[in-house]
């Protein structure tokens, strides 16, 4: 806590095996993420990046290794609601309106009604969905649904935001717009963000660091610092440095042995 910068996630020798050790999903992962970082995990399907995200969130137990989140065990961090999570599918509850979906974690935290209403209003402004309070999820487009899901994840101001290919199912235009929105939300909330993606351009555009993972057994092949200036804007995508970094990341993925698998990459994600 006294260190500057503060460590939000520390992974030491994290390994995950499935099917009694027949499948090694992750092997010897060491990674430290500091407060306020935006770290992307990128790699071919089946490299275990979604599993790694779930291990940080204590939704999957590692076979061995040490996971520290906010200076606590991952389990304690989950019990303390230290993180919000966004999945590839918005996972909104159909029987709840937009307002009620965002309210869900706040209800679980026992917030009084008035405080909930204030926060929901703020969150709707943040994701630009004011006016859609009483819509049901099925009345929204895919991009809007995902924005509700982001608002829900951030509603209780968790210090950590975990995102598992949140824009993977959206079209390119919507994806680019939501990338911009996500960055402005990130600047505003200063939530440390861990972002799983398949998209090289998306990883470069969003991140302060990109963690390149190799195919199964998943290992960290390389970590790239993204030194593009902040705040990033539409012009960032036209910056020569952006293209250099995209090329660097692509080459790094190929060195990591992703070539064969990478062609098969479909937006539906890995396990």
């Amino acid at each position: 806590m006294t260190d500057a910068p503060e460590k939000v996630v520390e992974l030491e020798g994290v390994t995950k095996e499935f099917a009694q050790g027949k499948t090694v999903a992750l092997q010897g992962i060491d990674l430290t993420i500091d407060s306020g970082e935006f770290v992307s995990l990128i790699g071919p399907s089946g490299c275990g990046k979604s599993t790694l995200l779930r291990i940080i969130g204590d939704l999957v137990e590692p076979t061995s290794g040490k996971v520290t989140v906010n200076g606590k065990t991952a389990h304690q961090a989950r019990s303390d609601r230290d993180y919000g999570i966004v999945f590839q599918h918005a996972v909104l509850y159909d029987w709840r309106t937009v307002t009620k979906n965002i309210a869900l974690p706040l209800e679980m935290l026992g917030w009084p009604r008035a405080k909930r209403a204030d926060r929901i209003k703020e969150m709707l402004e943040l994701v630009e969905l004011t006016g859609f309070e009483s819509h049901y999820p099925w009345q929204l487009s895919g991009g809007m649904q995902q924005r509700v899901s982001i608002a829900r994840a951030l509603s209780f101001s968790p210090p950590l935001l975990l995102m598992d290919e949140p824009f993977g199912a959206l079209d390119e235009m919507t994806r680019e717009r939501l990338n911009m929105e996500l960055l402005s939300i990130w600047r505003e909330t200063r939530s440390t963000t861990i972002f799983v993606t398949h998209s090289i351009a998306e990883a470069v555009f969003l991140s302060t660091r990109v963690v390149v993972m190799s195919p199964r057994p998943g290992r960290i092949a390389e970590i790239l610092e993204i030194d593009l200036p902040q705040p990033r804007t539409a012009e960032t995508r036209e910056d020569p440095r952006f293209f250099e970094l995209v090329t660097e990341l692509r080459e790094s993925l190929h060195r990591g042995g992703a070539d064969q698998v990478f062609e098969k990459l479909a937006p539906e994600g890995d396990g």
Binding site: G57, R78, R81, F87, Y93, D94, W95, T97, L104, L109
Partner: protein, 252 residues
């Protein structure tokens, strides 16, 4: 509810054409004795309306008792099976096997157990008939939830009770109601068949049986129409409850 009167017009035309064909084609062909004309059935109903409606109400109450017990038990068992996977996988094969048994065959036995005049004998048979469709549908509903929806709840440190209350049960409601609607029909069948093997004189099944054995087919048909009307009303009542509940979940 679809409030558009126009949607009902084709169905009404079919109804009246059907009645007309029955009245002037089918009955004359089959013989008015074996297949009474709708007009004769209507007259039989009118002449016996108090007895028939009372009998319908009596048998409906038998069906309702079985429906409540059978469906209630099925929902509880489904919750246990969904919560304790091991129990579910140990017992579900037997539940499926038991559902293939022609349960109506047990009607004389439940009559013997509880006594023909005791409504419990009809509750038992109607309840057992309701049990399986509600169990199977509820379980399917409780298991229909995406794994991410559960992971999301766990990320909020939610326990099992919260996950069931806030996610699994609301997600299962449409499935539960599908099961309940099937169960309304089965409950009426169970109660009436239970009556056939002996019941109170004011029970609808007994009325149908007696009038047929006296060759009063018009009265028998009138009683069947009463049974159907109660059955349809029962189904409609559950459909209305469904609209209220499945929508009402959102306004709490």
């Amino acid at each position: 509810m679809r409030g558009r009167a126009g949607n009902w017009v084709p169905a009404l035309i079919v109804f009246f054409v059907g009645i007309a064909v029955w009245q002037w084609v089918l009955s004359p062909l089959a013989g008015k004795f074996l297949l009474p004309r709708p007009s004769a059935i209507a007259k039989a109903f009118w002449d016996n309306r108090h007895v028939l409606v009372n009998a319908g109400w009596f048998t409906f109450k038998e069906a309702l008792g079985g429906f409540v017990i059978g469906s209630g038990a099925a929902i509880l068992v489904a919750l246990v099976f969904a919560r304790f996977q091991r129990v579910g996988s140990a017992l579900m094969p037997y539940a499926i096997a038991a559902s293939a048994v022609p349960i109506i065959a047990f009607a004389p036995i439940t009559n013997a157990w509880f006594g023909v005049l005791n409504p419990h004998s009809k509750w038992a048979i109607a309840g057992v008939l309701c049990f399986f469709p509600v169990l199977v549908n509820t379980l399917r509903g409780l298991r229909s939830v995406r794994p991410e929806a559960i992971e999301l709840m766990r990320s909020y440190a939610a326990g099992d009770v919260d996950i069931f209350r806030r996610v699994r049960i609301p997600a299962a409601l449409p499935f539960i109601f599908a099961g309940l609607k099937v169960a309304t029909v089965l409950a009426m069948i169970g109660a009436i068949v239970g009556d056939y093997f002996g019941g109170a004189i004011n029970a609808l099944g007994v009325q149908i049986e007696n009038s047929i054995s006296l060759f009063d087919f018009a009265l028998g048909w009138a009683a069947i129409v009463v049974a159907s009307t109660f059955g349809i009303a029962f189904y409609a009542a559950v459909s209305v409850a469904e609209r209220y509940c499945v929508r009402g979940m959102t306004s709490t």
